[in-house]
């Protein structure tokens, strides 16, 4: 297929089809594949995917076509309904697998095998197919059948133990993240298998463990244990990421900003610029001005030295608003960011300038909704513009009648029998 003509942008994955059987554990994987141009067909059980009941809702109306969670992560897909637990459903699914390039699923490990739709079964129908299974702990091992929820994957990854105030329980991010990180990992796994298939013609089974994908968020804590027998603990706004305890969040006039006081070459420039800035407002002591930042090692700095530095910076930040600090930091090359809410983010001139947002028409709700747009900018094959998530079974006729040549009678019978 070299030098294939592709005049209109179809995205980098334009020629490929994905059958998406996932629940919220894997929604984002198919969404990103659709952004890259793949035709992603979400297969929902008759009546609709259970993920359609996830809050928040459009105008707080808990209707299956109005879950903003579902809409966000199933945008740009197509939808058919099919009960793959029935033999009729399995037959139809197998027909679809014949021409599919990818199948992604997030059932409990073993469920697809029990239905006769495991990787071995599907590869007999289509040896090229790449099947990606997303589960909390993977398809093998003693935890494979664990009952799970998003926070549990986060808890068992080690990230929660180190996040939060020391006097209260460990914390997850209030908007659950583990399934999203697992979906991103699944995307990479799927694409690696795809590359190998292009070279060899052979599909394979990708086994993604959500918890394992999240372990990398613990950065250096496992080697800290393995090598130094130290267990990293929660410190609230004080972290021990780089040796000594350091403040990472600094209150300012109207909120807070993030700023890491790194030593050595990594932090020298930003620290020096910050002191110049403080000095321009008469807030840098002589002590601060004489520090040799290049040779200041935060790991070995005494607590007295650290406190003197941080007290001065704290006093300075408190004389400004987060917007003032962010603007000036940009001009001066200081690595600092305001703590932004989704409202702040929506006003970002940077995102506006890059034309990040996609305004998506929802004719059914008579509204245009703003979605995060391209997850990466690509010159030749840009991510496709986001389109509305499909209604339940919106593409049933396209797929069943026009493609699989089912008659409308058959479709009606199978709908009545709740297969479709």
């Amino acid at each position: 297929m070299t030098n294939q003509k592709q005049d209109k942008n179809m995205g980098a994955l334009g020629p490929y089809r994905v059958l998406d059987l996932t629940d919220e554990k894997g929604f984002l994987c198919g969404r990103l594949m659709a952004d890259l141009g793949a035709e992603v067909i979400k297969i929902e059980p008759p009546g609709g995917d259970p993920g359609r009941s996830l809050p928040p809702f459009y105008k707080d109306d808990p209707h299956p076509e109005k879950s903003l969670y579902y809409l966000a992560y199933n945008a740009s897909k197509k939808s058919i309904t099919l009960d793959i637990e029935t033999t009729d459903g399995q037959d139809i699914f197998k027909k679809l697998v014949k021409t599919a390039d990818f199948v992604i699923e997030s059932y409990r490990p073993g469920h697809m095998d029990n239905l006769g739709l495991g990787y071995e079964d599907l590869s007999r129908i289509n040896p090229r197919v790449v099947v990606t299974s997303i589960s909390p702990f993977g398809q093998t091992g003693p935890y494979r059948n664990f009952h799970s929820f998003d926070l549990l994957c986060s808890a068992m990854s080690g990230h929660m133990f180190i996040t939060g105030d020391p006097d209260r329980a460990p914390l997850h991010i209030s908007l659950p993240q583990a399934y999203l990180l697992g979906s991103a990992e699944a995307l990479m796994a799927t694409m690696a298998a795809h590359y190998y298939r292009r070279k060899t013609g052979l599909g394979q089974h990708a086994d993604v463990a959500i918890r394992d994908a999240m372990i990398k968020t613990t950065v250096n804590t496992v080697p800290m244990w393995e090598y130094k027998n130290e267990i990293t603990k929660r410190g609230g706004v004080f972290w021990t990421l780089r040796g000594e305890k350091q403040r990472v969040l600094w209150p300012c006039k109207d909120g807070a900003v993030s700023f890491g006081m790194h030593g050595g070459g990594f932090g020298a420039k930003t620290n020096r610029e910050l002191v110049k800035w403080m000095d321009s407002e008469g807030m840098a002591s002589d002590f601060l001005k004489t520090i040799d930042w290049e040779n200041l090692d935060m790991e070995t700095a005494t607590p007295e030295l650290y406190n003197e530095l941080s007290d001065a910076i704290l006093r300075f930040f408190q004389t400004h608003t987060k917007k003032e600090l962010a603007r000036e930091a940009l001009d001066r090359g200081v690595m600092l960011s305001p703590v932004q809410t989704v409202a702040d983010i929506s006003e970002s001139t940077q995102l506006e300038a890059r034309d990040f947002w996609d305004e998506v028409e929802h004719w059914d709700l008579n509204v245009r909704i703003r979605y995060p747009g391209a997850f990466i900018q690509i010159t030749e094959t840009p991510c496709l513009k986001t389109t509305r998530a499909p209604h339940i079974g919106e593409h049933n006729e396209d797929i069943y009648i026009r493609e699989l040549k089912m008659t409308s009678e058959e479709l009606a019978i199978l709908s009545g029998a709740r297969v479709i």
Binding site: G138, G164, S174, L180, S258, P338
Partner: protein, 404 residues
Amino acid sequence: MSKQALEGVKVADFTWVAAGPLTTNYLAQCGATVVKIESITKPDGIRTFPPNKDNQAGPNRSLLFSMENANKLSMTLNLKHPKGLELVKRLVAWADIVAENYRPGTMERWGLGYEDLKKINPSIIMFSSSAQGQTGPDAGMGATGITLQSLSGFTHLTGWPDRDPAPPWGAYTDLTAPAFGAAALMAALDYRDRTGKGQYLDLSQYEAGLHYLSPAILDYHVNGRVAGRTGNAQPYAAPHGVYRCSGEERWCCIAVFNEKEWTAFRQIMGEPGWAKEERFSTFLKRKKNEAELNALVETWTSRHSPEDVMAMLQEKGISAGVVKNAQDIYEDPQLKEREFFKKLDHPEIGPLSHRSVGFKLSRTPCGPIRPGPCLGEHTEQVCREFLGMSDEEFVDLITDGVFE
């Protein structure tokens, strides 16, 4: 060892610190040949990130560096030397992919922007990862994961409703972007193989991060609601959270989603009197009185180890787990069974466990095979094997200080 998925993919890797090297880490763990390019005078800052061997920083002593850069090859080059730049161009001609995450504009200043690279290798795929993208008024803003996770909204969304945020530990956006970038690179490679066309990929870690907050962004635009901190509570389950267990700093997590699970949970707790009180009799009431409910659940969990809570509840089909600390992760039976950590012998550090990607591929093994490279360890190999350099030329370049 069987063939790996990305065998034959060639990457010239100029990335440093975290978000960039973690992107190419996926490629290296799946079998791509990744040549990490640094200079001896200014090596990757992570080479001294703690923990370091014997607590002494040095270019080949950071355990974290080794984990992030497993399987990669290291070449040193002095880009300020004209012959150094010449060598980079030969690497670009060799490579399928050039990856970098310097501040926007840096590669162009070196004469290594995409337009320059294209002249050397028309089908090259160039990948730039940066805090906020290559364009726009804030493109020049330097950032670390610590600052960027606040810009991207994660800090504001982590903590207790009655308190200021407690930022997600680490450098969260350094971990959200890499899989996106690596997967997009694979898609670009597929496109190139089909059409012969390379292209340029511009990843903004800020923009990629916002995909992890999409529902809250939609909620703001549609309903005007500004998402805030909710501790560990979620609207669809009660109890749902983290509970103190017996022992110092031991915690478990539990979620009870429905009536059946609530009944089973009560039985496991031994039907305590409080659990039958009117104020906890329905889901709505449990949700309304969640604070009291959580405190009472904790009176039970605090008498058990988190491992026992997990075992008792899992057996009855209720979601419960251990809030694992670093030692728990290191000793985790599931990770052991799946060989998530691979112990590799690092020439200076000694034996060290390297974490694997979060997936297994049935035909093509992936994971760490070699520890992160020592600085300049493969300079000679890259010059001779990949660039076909003669002995004379190699020695001349050494004499000229091109590899410094």
